[in-house]
């Protein structure tokens, strides 16, 4: 059990990183990574939402959809769950952590359409994970997302002062460096854990 969880965690964080190996959640990854602080906040929000979404979606899938023979409604029901959850997180942050709320700006509602969140709950079903495995996969998937976005934000902060050809200015140098960071993560992809 423990080794299984460890394998899932390492897989979600490194080898099957949501951004660099599965290419899910690229929109906030590029949009919200210009500062490390904002990136870390966005990462935390995604960890929170992904963990919670995994738990709630697993319960809904196992105790409502599958017994009723409505497994084909998974995608629809999960979108409903995620959308409500993000609304909830937004209200919670607005009340409790206003600084983070204003730092995330328009990116928080964007988690609703963050495919990494929908991806993780659908992968939970696909991989037949139990409740604990699902939550672990959700949280570590979010941590992998956070690792990727914080790493990339640090790279982008250094790019600000780098001397690169003028024609790459702005978004193009950002995409090029995203590709390079992704290449570095490809190094993990051959690893087989346990």
């Amino acid at each position: 059990m423990l080794t299984n969880i460890l394998a899932i965690s390492l897989g979600a964080i490194l080898t099957n990183n949501f951004i660099f190996s599965q290419f899910l959640g690229c929109c906030p990854f590029l949009g919200c990574s210009s500062k490390v602080d904002t990136a870390a906040g966005m990462g935390l929000a995604v960890v929170f939402v992904m963990g919670l979404a995994s738990a709630i979606c697993w319960v809904i899938d196992t105790y409502i959809l599958i017994p009723l023979g409505l497994a084909f409604l998974e995608t629809l029901a999960f979108i409903l769950v995620i959308a409500s959850l993000v609304q909830f997180v937004e209200m919670f942050l607005k009340k409790s952590v206003p600084s983070l709320y204003s730092a995330l700006g328009i990116y928080l509602p964007l988690i609703t359409t963050n495919c990494a969140v929908l991806g993780v709950v659908l992968l939970n079903v696909q991989n037949n994970y139990n409740f604990i495995e699902s939550v672990v996969y959700g949280v570590t998937g979010g941590l992998g997302f956070m690792l990727a976005i914080v790493l990339f934000a640090s790279v982008r902060e250094r790019i600000e002062f780098a001397d690169y050809p003028e024609c790459f200015e702005g978004f193009s140098i950002c995409l090029i460096s995203a590709g390079l960071v992704a290449l570095a993560f490809m190094g993990f992809s051959g690893m087989k854990i346990f």
């Binding site: 959809l65 409505l70 029901a77 909830f88 607005k94």
Partner: protein, 265 residues
Amino acid sequence: MITILKSILVLGILGAVFGAVLAFAARIFHVEVDPREAAVREALAGANCGGCGYPGCDGYAKAVAAGEAPCNKCVAGGAATAAKVAEIMGVSNDGAEKMVAFVPCSGSNEAAELRFNYTGPEDCRAAMLFGGKSSKMCTFACIGLGNCAKACKFDAMHIENGVAKVDRYNCVGCGACVDACPKSIVKLIPESQKIMPACRNMDKGAQVMKICKVGCIGCMKCQRECPADAITVVNNLAQVDTSKCIQCGHCADICPRHIITYFGK
């Protein structure tokens, strides 16, 4: 049939439950928003031009409601909006001076000598990559490929005959063109200022004569004849001191190069 009914029922119940939870959470996590913020936001022009220096109209409204920003920063709305915002905030309106964009260059295609024929992309920055910072002989000149016109959201900036011209009626003074000009030629001047020399060439007179028919040669005529001593020639270029200028328009009449623009007419 039963599957369809079940699907509708399950999704309906799920949606209702989540809706109820959200409604409940909205009560618990309710945040008091300054009602003046919404009122200020309503009063603003809503162009999201960024002329106030805040991120969009929402950002400015928030700053005003928090008392961090003056009431007269909405350039697109002008004096009327400033008065409305001041009324909402209950402070006196200290009268915003309306600014308009001004292009201090008159070097149209006929007047300015060309260095080479530029046929590249229609973009001032692209043209600047070639030597001399312009296809015109004058290194100070407006390139005239219209980055400012593209940046203008109010149809107030047009390229006429190779040089940017401001439509003062449409201009709201948001400063988008100032930021868009790669040569930092465009500037904002108070609308009440009717006199401005439309040249920024600092070369010596003889050199200017060779390259532009409408360049300031620094002849000092305006400086000598100005009744208010408002014009001085610095670095071979006439400059108006807006605090002293009495807007008489005499300099515009006597300028031998006809480059001092008088908007009063």
